[in-house]
């Protein structure tokens, strides 16, 4: 049994400390996910609270078929959709343009302006705090569906099939959104290095 499942057992027995620990473990990720559906921080916080209310009341019964986190995120998304002004199903998949500006390739599709090398000395050049700030800013600027997929997959570490379950996406659409979002992050890092 993993740590989450143990805290959930204690929560079922009415343990307040276990509840607060579970909230603390998942609050930031839940809030970030809620914000991809609703436009205000206050509404996002209500959605997170409402999700926990459902868990505490036992309205939502965990059956252990998925990880606790995936299950929590799925409940959250259902509630965020009801609260949200944006409808997640009307996801615009192909609106974000290519991974790399077309002008950087010649008419045969080969690089004219290839990526400058930075992988080897990435942290010497920008520093961990600056890198994190750049990534956070790039995430904040992404379309909501891309942000949700990239955050769940690459930041929170969910598997692709878990992301599909939480956001009700097909595997192909999940990968398209992941690809757009990651490409955007890579470009943001490249821009940061070029400013130096």
């Amino acid at each position: 049994m993993d740590a989450d499942a143990r805290f959930l057992e204690r929560l079922r027995a009415g343990d307040e400390a276990a509840f607060v620990t579970l909230v603390a473990r998942h609050h930031d990720a839940m809030l970030r996910l809620a914000r991809t559906f609703v436009s205000s921080q206050a509404v996002a916080e209500e959605v997170v609270q409402d999700t926990w209310l459902g868990v505490v009341r036992g309205i939502e019964r965990f059956e252990g078929r998925s990880s606790l986190r995936t299950w929590l995120f799925t409940i959250l998304v259902n509630r965020a959709r009801s609260a949200g002004t944006r409808e997640a199903r009307s996801v615009a998949i192909g609106d974000a343009g290519p991974a790399v500006d077309r002008a950087r390739f010649d008419e045969t599709g080969h690089w004219i302006s290839p990526p400058e090398r930075w992988v080897e000395d990435v942290e010497d050049r920008l520093g961990a705090a600056e890198l994190a700030a750049r990534i956070r800013a790039a995430l904040a600027g992404m379309p909501p569906r891309q942000r949700a997929v990239v955050t769940l997959h690459d930041v929170d570490g969910l598997r692709g099939d878990e992301v599909c379950e939480v956001l009700e996406l097909s595997p192909a659409n999940q990968r398209v959104l992941l690809h757009r979002g990651r490409s955007h992050l890579r470009q943001a890092l490249e821009d940061a290095f070029e400013e130096r």
Binding site: A29, G109, H179
Partner: protein, 91 residues
């Protein structure tokens, strides 16, 4: 996704990176992708940058719940439990 059996070019490689990393390419696509990389230092660097970008994203640290938020959730929990107790049918 890739039609026919021709070689892939750089502009296509940058669009296939995520499918490659997520294991979603067919065997034939994967072979052509890797054959291109073997001869193209720019796309090799591009792939390395995408991997590094993913690694850096995975290192973002979630914000801790503030003491005030902890307190609020403790109070919510107690209130929910009381309300639930009130609503429970008499035995």
């Amino acid at each position: 996704m890739l039609i026919g059996r021709r070689e892939v070019v750089c502009e296509e490689v940058v669009e296939l990176v995520t499918d490659y990393l997520e294991g979603a390419l067919s065997r034939s696509e994967r072979r052509r992708f890797e054959r291109h990389l073997a001869g193209c230092p720019h796309c090799t660097e591009y792939l390395a940058q995408m991997r590094e970008t993913i690694r850096l994203a995975g290192r973002l640290v979630p914000e801790d719940l503030s003491p005030q938020m902890r307190q609020e959730f403790s109070e919510l929990f107690r209130r929910w439990r009381e309300e639930e107790g009130d609503a429970a049918p008499e035995p």
